[in-house]
Amino acid sequence: MNIALRQLTSRKRQTILTISGIGVGVMVLISAVSLMDGLLSSFIDKIVNIAPHVVVSGEKVTSIVSDTIYQAKKGETINLIKNVERQDEEIIKNYKRVENLIKSDPNVSVTSPVVNVTVIAKFGTISQPLEVFGIDPGPQDEIVKFSQNMTEGRFTELERTPDGLMLGTTSAKDFGLRLGDKLQLVSNLGKTFDVRVVGIYSTGINDIDNNAYVNLRVAQNIAGYRPDEVSQIYLRVKDLKRDAQAARTIEKETNYKSKTWEEISSSVIALYKMISMMVYFLVFFVILVAGFGVANVLITNVLEKYRDIAILKSIGYKKKEITVIYLLQGILVALIGAAIGCLLGYVLIFIMGSIQVTPSESNTSMRSDRLQMGKSPWYFVLASLFAFVVSLIASIGPARGAARVNPVEILRGER
């Protein structure tokens, strides 16, 4: 109403301060949510694009020999002696058959056998452990998209060079390797294999850029596998939402443990979620403080306007109407503040999104030269709603206080 507006505009400085308080709160909330959301979703995007959706490993879901044949009933005690199991290496045997079994699921689009082995790589004076993956270059490229991420050499070289080795930028930097360099891989069985660098790639995900890739046959030799044995099968699915379902089906049919990308990266995703939670808490307090600002403006306004409230009452305004006047002031402040905050938030997201940052070298994160900002109208809606609710709650107290003013006390000058 008119009265609410007039009283606000007559106290310009304080009103503007409060409005900007709410505005800043909303802005910080929007940009923080956008930042956290953007980080997480761009991380997931990259994983989904570059990492296998499901990894089938050699680990068995149920042990081959069961521990007990007798099914215990309630109340019975069983003395269980664990059967001795062969300490098998986790190998997928007869992988072609397993691949065909997996491919029978129409949701699976690509499968790629992988032999995973850790070796000591020797180059000049450097000798360091290196995670080497033996791959079938064709199908593997469809999963990790090496050919799009080559920085040196060409991906097709690997297929044509039996002793070829492809490196991620991170491991290439560690060893100081360049295209065409020759190095030795020493297996844990003590055998030495000579390989030659035919390509260097960079995906932006450190987990992948730390690795090296060779042809499947080479890795099988290093690991001492037979030609029909691999350690993992990677696959991509068509419908990402049903990846868990695909993984469970594979486990049932092949008895090999299958993990989806969510399960593999669960710790990283959990970390991101935890950080966002902390950020949200901090921002929550910012808005809370802004809420106190609203309460402050309204309380001082009510205190200053005791006389006016008494007058309004004596000329016939009801309690409810007085409450509405002061609630309206709070709502107005909140609305204008939220609107300004949304505008500032939009600008801030834009600015933050264009800031150049030094890529992080940590193992779990991905590298990017920009902050990835999420963009969704929901941030604005949620932040405004939140600020609005906080201000509304903050204005209820003073508004009701205003309605309780006893005109006689004021008119007699007792206050």
Binding site: R6, I311, L312, G316, E321, L411
Partner: protein
């Protein structure tokens, strides 16, 4: 004319104040009965603390009696709810206080319009028209858009009177309306009341300790320690 506008029936008012943890009862009005008729211009006089202002607040429904009944225009206002009282105040009463109590953010015109639009009885344009008339009646037709702080004390008080008359009140209740004014402005305000009373048969109750003011009304109720000490009807001048 013998229509009774205000009637007090054995009204008492006791204030309970707490001091040092113990409750102290202060009786302001022990037992008061009187009537005010329609069209009367009544002055309530008495020393400060005698209870005359309390009487006025009881008439206006701003305060409630501890016991007894207060009737306004045949309505028992002493038993009404606060919201009902707000309505009665808006429709039947006009208040003028010692201090003008205008809303500082609003112009003279808007201040006068406020009681009219409060209940939605008038549309904004109707209210504006009527407020303009009322302000020119009190001689302020050139100050319609001035803010209260741009007006002199006398002008502010005249705006307050115009506001009190906005909803054609049954009674105009005024509390020391000249208490803050010089003699020239006091005379102007008094003449205004006199004119209202004579021309429009406006019932007016004035609480004052300005003897010259009181003597020019029609009836003086002198209050001493919460009791009616004398009740004199004066001849028309």
């Amino acid at each position: 004319m013998s229509d009774v506008i205000i009637r007090f029936e054995h009204v008492s008012r006791t204030l309970v104040s707490k001091s040092n943890g113990s409750e102290v009862d202060t009786t302001i009005l022990p037992d008061l009965s009187f009537e005010i008729e329609k069209g009367e211009f009544t002055a309530i006089t008495g020393p400060s603390g005698s209870g005359k202002t309390t009487m006025l607040y009881l008439m206006g429904g701003l305060d409630r009696p501890t016991s007894g009944k207060v009737f306004l225009d045949n309505l028992e206002i002493s038993s009404m709810s606060e919201d009902e009282l707000s309505e009665v105040r808006n429709e039947k009463l006009g208040f003028v206080y010692q201090f003008h109590f205008l809303l500082p953010e609003f112009s003279a015109l808007e201040n006068v319009m406020m009681p009219m639009v409060a209940r939605g009885k008038y549309s904004v344009s109707q209210a504006r028209k009527k407020a303009t008339e009322l302000l020119s009646d009190v001689g302020l037709s050139d100050k319609l858009n001035s803010k209260p702080n741009q007006l002199s004390g006398g002008q502010q008080q005249r705006v307050a009177i115009a506001r009190a008359l906005a909803n054609d009140p049954v009674v105009l209740l005024t509390d020391e309306p000249t208490g803050n004014l010089d003699s020239k402005n006091s005379a102007m305000v008094f003449d205004l009341f006199k004119e209202l009373n004579e021309k429009h048969k406006q019932t007016i109750v004035v609480v004052t300790h300005d003897e010259t003011f009181a003597e020019r009304t029609q009836r003086i109720i002198h209050i001493l320690d919460g009791r009616i000490h004398s009740d004199t009807r004066l001849k028309e001048h």
